[in-house]
C-alpha cells in the first residue's frame, strides 16, 4: 500500500512505543531483582546479586518450585495421553458428536479461568475429595489437553496415510506400524505440545487458587501470597524473573520444534 512518508514514520513510531510499553515493565522486574534496596525504590542505587542467593535459600520458594514442577509434570503427562487419544479419534474416525467434542476441548480456556476453577472446586467438595497436589493436576490437565490436541491434530492432518499403509503391506501389524512409522512422525509435535502444556501449567494461577490444598503452594501462588509482604519483596522479584524464564524457554523450544506452526496462541487465554 502506498503510504506517505510521514504516515510510515508515524506507524513505526507507534509500534516502537507499544513494544516499549510491552517490555519495560518486565525489564523493571529484572532490574529490581538486582536492586540493593529492600523496598522497591526506583531508580536503583546500586547492584547486588544478594537476593538471588537469598531466593535460592528460601525454603518456601524452593518448596513452591518443587510443587510447581510436580504439578506441571503430572498435568503434562495427563494432557499428553488424553490430547493424543482425542486427536487420533477426531482425525481418523467419523462419529456422532465429533464437532461438539472439538469445541468442548477448547471450552476450559474459552471460559474465564475463575469459572473453571470454582466449577472444579464445587465438584471436588460435592464428591468429598480433599484438595491436594492431585486436584491441581486435574485442573491443569483440563486446560492443557487443548494444546497437545491442537499440535498433534495439525501433524496428523499433514501426515500421509500411505506411509502407514506401506508399512502394513510390508507385513507390520498395527502396533509395529505405530511404533516404527506413526510415532516417529508425531514425536516432535508431541514434544512441542508437552512443552506448551508444561509452560501453561507452570505459570497458571487462577484455576490453581481454587484447586490447591492449603499446604500445596505452586510458585505463582507463592508469589501471590508474598508480594504484599514487605520483607519478602526482593526475593519475590527474583522468583518472578525465574518464573518468566521457565515459562518462556519451553515455548521458544516448542516454536522451533514445530517450525513456527505452534497451535494454540489463544491457549494462554484463560
Amino acid at each position: 500500500m502506498h503510504l506517505s512518508r510521514p504516515a510510515r514514520v508515524a506507524l513505526r513510531a507507534v509500534t516502537v512505543v507499544v513494544l516499549a510499553f510491552v517490555y519495560i515493565p518486565l525489564l523493571v522486574v529484572v532490574i529490581n531483582s538486582f536492586n540493593p534496596a529492600r523496598v522497591a525504590a526506583w531508580p536503583p542505587d546500586g547492584f547486588t546479586v544478594d537476593w538471588w542467593g537469598r531466593a535460592w535459600d528460601n525454603p518456601g520458594a524452593r518448596a513452591a518450585l518443587w510443587t510447581s514442577v510436580k504439578a506441571a509434570a503430572g498435568a503434562t503427562v495427563a494432557a499428553l495421553i488424553l490430547g493424543t487419544l482425542l486427536s487420533f479419534a477426531v482425525q481418523r474416525h467419523r462419529f456422532f458428536g465429533r464437532e461438539t467434542l472439538s469445541l468442548l476441548v477448547v471450552l476450559p480456556i474459552a471460559l474465564p479461568g475463575i469459572v473453571t476453577g470454582i466449577a472444579l472446586q464445587s465438584a471436588f467438595r460435592f464428591l468429598g475429595v480433599p484438595l491436594s497436589l492431585w486436584t491441581i493436576v486435574v485442573g491443569h490437565a483440563t486446560f492443557c489437553i487443548v494444546v497437545v490436541f491442537n499440535n498433534t491434530l495439525a501433524r496428523l492432518r499433514r501426515m500421509s496415510r500411505s506411509m502407514e499403509e506401506a508399512s502394513m503391506d510390508l507385513g507390520a501389524d498395527g502396533l509395529q506400524t505405530f511404533r516404527l512409522v506413526t510415532f516417529p512422525t508425531l514425536r516432535s509435535a508431541l514434544l512441542a505440545g508437552a512443552l506448551l502444556a508444561f509452560a501453561l501449567s507452570f505459570d497458571e494461577i487462577i484455576v490453581t487458587t481454587f484447586t490447591a490444598g492449603a499446604g500445596d503452594q505452586t510458585l505463582p501462588i507463592w508469589i501471590f501470597t508474598n508480594l504484599t509482604r514487605p520483607n519478602q519483596a526482593p526475593v519475590v522479584n527474583v522468583v518472578a524473573v525465574l518464573l518468566v524464564v521457565i515459562s518462556v524457554v519451553p515455548i521458544w523450544l516448542a516454536q522451533r520444534l514445530s517450525e513456527g506452526t505452534v497451535r494454540g496462541a489463544g491457549a494462554a487465554a484463560r
Binding site: 500500500m1 502506498h2 503510504l3 506517505s4 513505526r12 507507534v14 509500534t15 507499544v18 513494544l19 510499553f21 510491552v22 517490555y23 515493565p25 523493571v28 522486574v29 526506583w42 495421553i81 488424553l82 487419544l85 482425542l86 487420533f88 479419534a89 474416525h93 471460559l111 474465564p112 479461568g113 469459572v115 473453571t116 470454582i118 466449577a119 472444579l120 464445587s122 465438584a123 467438595r125 490437565a141 483440563t142 489437553i145 501389524d173 498395527g174 502396533l175 509452560a199 505459570d203 494461577i205 487462577i206 481454587f210 505463582p220 508469589i223 501471590f224 508480594l227 518472578a240 518464573l243 518468566v244 515459562s247 518462556v248 515455548i251 496462541a265 489463544g266 494462554a268 487465554a269 484463560r270
Partner: protein, 292 residues
C-alpha cells in the same frame, strides 16, 4: 519378540473392529472432558441454587432462588457488574486503538526479516507469566514507583493503586490477544484492495474507514472476545494493583475464600458466563468466530 507375538492378535482385533478402536481412543478423553469437566460445570450451576447454613457454614443442598434474588436486588452487585462490564469495554477500546497501528505496521509496512521478528516480539510476552506481568505493574504504578519517577520532571504522578491502574494493567495484559487476530485479519486483506481504493481517489483515512475497518471488523470482534472474557473473570491483577476496587472476579474470590459461601460465588460466576454466551452469540452472528 515373544511379547510382540502376544500383542499381534490384539493388534489384529483392533484393525478388524474400528468401532472398538474408536471406543478405546475416546473413553479416556470423553470421560475427562464430558464427565469430569462438564460434570463440574453442572455441579457449579446446581450449587448456585443451593445455600449455606448461616450457623455452621455447611452447604444446604435444597434448591432456592435466594442467591439470584440477592444478586438481582442488591444495589452493590448491580454496580459491580456494571463497573466490570464498563471496564471490559474500556480495556477493549484501549487495546483496539493500540493494536491497530502495530498490526497494520506488521502486516502491511514491515518487510523481509522484520515481520517474523515483530511477530515473535508480540508473541513472547503472551507466554510470559501472567502473574509476573501483573506484579511488574505493582512496581510501576506504586507510590515512588517507575511511573512516579518518570512523570515527576513534567510535574505529574502515576495513577497509584485503583480503578485507573486496573484499566491500564488489564489493557497491557490482554494487548497481544488483540494484536494477533487483527494482524491475521490485515494479513488476509489483499493489498490490491487498498491500491484500488487509493486509485479511486480515497486518501489514507477514507481507505481506513471504508475499506480496512469494515473488512477487519470480524478480527476486531474476535480479539474483543479475549479482552472481554479475560477482564470479566480477572481477580489477580485487580487484587495486585486495584487497591480497594471491587470487580466480579474479586467478589467471587472473596465468597469462595473468606466468606466461605460457595453457592453465592457460583451464582455470581453465572454473570460472566451469561455475558460471554450473549457476546459469543452476537459474535457468531457477526461472523467473527472463524477469525478466532
Amino acid at each position: 519378540m515373544s511379547a510382540q507375538g502376544a500383542l499381534r492378535p490384539l493388534s489384529r482385533a483392533l484393525w478388524r473392529r474400528p468401532r472398538l478402536k474408536l471406543a478405546l481412543l475416546l473413553s479416556a478423553p470423553v470421560g475427562w472432558l464430558v464427565v469430569a469437566y462438564l460434570g463440574s460445570l453442572a455441579v457449579l450451576f446446581a450449587s448456585a441454587l443451593w445455600s449455606t447454613d448461616s450457623f455452621t457454614g455447611a452447604i444446604v443442598r435444597q434448591p432456592t432462588s435466594d442467591n439470584f434474588t440477592a444478586l438481582l436486588r442488591g444495589e452493590v452487585y448491580r454496580a459491580i457488574t456494571l463497573r466490570t462490564v464498563a471496564l471490559a469495554a474500556g480495556v477493549t477500546l484501549v487495546d483496539v486503538v493500540l493494536a491497530f497501528p502495530v498490526a497494520f505496521f506488521m502486516a502491511k509496512v514491515a518487510r523481509g526479516r522484520w515481520r517474523p521478528l515483530l511477530l515473535a516480539a508480540v508473541l513472547t510476552p503472551l507466554w510470559a507469566s501472567y502473574l509476573v506481568k501483573a506484579y511488574a505493574w505493582r512496581v510501576m504504578v506504586g507510590a515512588g514507583g517507575v511511573l512516579d519517577w518518570a512523570l515527576a520532571p513534567i510535574g505529574l504522578h502515576g495513577p497509584g493503586f485503583g480503578l485507573t491502574a486496573v484499566w491500564l494493567v488489564l489493557s497491557y495484559l490482554w494487548l497481544p490477544y488483540m494484536i494477533l487476530p487483527i494482524f491475521a485479519g490485515l494479513d488476509r486483506l489483499p493489498d490490491s484492495l487498498l491500491e484500488a481504493s487509493s486509485d479511486l481517489g480515497a486518501h489514507a483515512w477514507r481507505t481506513f474507514r471504508s475499506v480496512i475497518l469494515p473488512l477487519t471488523m470480524p478480527a476486531v470482534v474476535a480479539g474483543s472476545i479475549f479482552t472481554f472474557s479475560l477482564t470479566l473473570g480477572d481477580f489477580v491483577a485487580v487484587n495486585i494493583v486495584g487497591g480497594k476496587t471491587q470487580m466480579i472476579g474479586n467478589v467471587i474470590y472473596a465468597n469462595v475464600g473468606a466468606a466461605n459461601n460457595l453457592p453465592f460465588a457460583a451464582a455470581l460466576a453465572c454473570v460472566p458466563v451469561v455475558i460471554m454466551l450473549v457476546y459469543l452469540l452476537a459474535a457468531r452472528r457477526a461472523g467473527a468466530l472463524e477469525s478466532l
